[in-house]
Symmetry: C2
Subunit: 324 residues, 2 copies
Amino acid sequence: MADHALVTLDEVRAAAGRIGGVAVRTPLLACLWSDPDRPLWLKPESLQATGAFKIRGALNAVATLTEDERRRGIVAHSSGNHAQAVAYAAKLAGIRATIVMPDVTPLVKQEATRSHGAEIVLVDPEERDTYSAKLVAEHGYVLIPPYDDPRIIAGQGTVGLEIAADAPDVDVVLVPVSGGGLSSGVAVAITALAPRASVVLVEPELAADAAESLRTGELTSWTTAQTYRTMADGLRTPSLGQLPWEHLRRYADRVVTVTEEEIVEAVRVLAAKARLVAEPSGAVATAGYLFHAAELPAGRKHVAVVSGGNIDPAQYAGLLAGRA
Amino acid sequence: MADHALVTLDEVRAAAGRIGGVAVRTPLLACLWSDPDRPLWLKPESLQATGAFKIRGALNAVATLTEDERRRGIVAHSSGNHAQAVAYAAKLAGIRATIVMPDVTPLVKQEATRSHGAEIVLVDPEERDTYSAKLVAEHGYVLIPPYDDPRIIAGQGTVGLEIAADAPDVDVVLVPVSGGGLSSGVAVAITALAPRASVVLVEPELAADAAESLRTGELTSWTTAQTYRTMADGLRTPSLGQLPWEHLRRYADRVVTVTEEEIVEAVRVLAAKARLVAEPSGAVATAGYLFHAAELPAGRKHVAVVSGGNIDPAQYAGLLAGRA
């Protein structure tokens, strides 16, 4: 995808037109409990029907398939939230979907994906990308990539479009980063529509490949042995995608990394004070706001994206009860 | 308030104009996990900044005070969510507020109310109404009633206005009932704008005074010793207010009562499947949908109001972990 130009604001706007009515137009939620000198608003993408922002990109990608591609069916590889999103978007469009998942994917995400009628194939995390390529070669399925794709970036960018519309005076936008689809799309929209705002990427310390890439100026991969140490199972991608990398080296203002303890505390704060069920991956941007104020750009109005809320109920109860 | 005519759709619309921009315009959330023959959407009022729908009525009431009334300051009595709402609305308007709370009010609700700058007075549950009347007589404060007031009913009715706008084809609207402010306002809007829909009140079996009132045709009170048995601390009002009673005997289609076990299970389902933190009072309408299908009117599209999410973190962790 390296030969594709950067996604434009017009592409993000076109995506918004395609996904409206299915993706939830999530509100910005004021946090009365946040620091009055740097008030926080939350963008609760956990409220999407499939529990995460991923539905935006999936709906946009599926909406742009040709009739021939629709007939062939689609395949996706994902640790979970992209899987559910693609399965659901395929179901709505009446298209056959096959989802390749790492065999360590939380059961709740496997089951939710299956419930949308998709076929699930479980593989070793190392094989995730190669196995879906094999299915494309053997069966002619069309691959819907999780992040390294302009249609996906444009779809996720609608999150940024809505933030800019609801908070044109935002100063700091905190967004989780892994493959970089969400953060790239948000950065495109925010840079164009709220140019005074900084876009801050937030990443687990235990899967900080994007932080390393942006620090060194070289797109860097971490091993799955490294990235799978974080509990944030949606953020274990070994590296930014090539196309997201092109966006983020240009648009991202900085990267903040958060510890596992900070992620757990952010999950608890989101439940107790914002009444949102967030999965660990969905809580990292809030953790950045709560625990890394000194590393953030100067500015008053903060927005943190709560990117998803799909977590095993037993794990969630344990986190809230302090048995992390 | 018995001499006030029923609240009109125009009054609800005027309230919507007054509270816009502060009250969150909550989305309807599709539940992909609900019964496909009677699909469910949730109206997550738990996402309001003070954690419950009550902010709508409080903002509307405060917006209509005269200059003299604003100078005198306001008083409210509440088990918690109305308290926070009035305190916050007063703070935004720059008005002094005193809140009379039952001494059994969960600490989390007391603290949140205090955080908005209101003065708190804790009293025995039996004295709640009389004590605030005393403050009105002694200090000239203006009482902002929790439900028996046309301004409050009109404000809460904006929930129904939004449901009708987002789901004009709704068949069944499930709404919790206690004093009757929310349910009356919702019924006004739904009856006018989605006339084919039934409005179903949901109440804890252990505080089922509204069910008894509507069954017998006589406005009936339960003792606080009775109503305080339910864990749904927002629904322990001894009876419907007089003005809500006039609305509900005319507009409510039926009442469903739910058990404590059903409430707990609904709290868990809302966390696991809808990613919403609901307090027990906020989960009763969902409990009605989940466990009382046979008692509901025939119809396809259901909406349940998740009225609030203010719950002590330790109690919440216990409920999710099965230590109810």
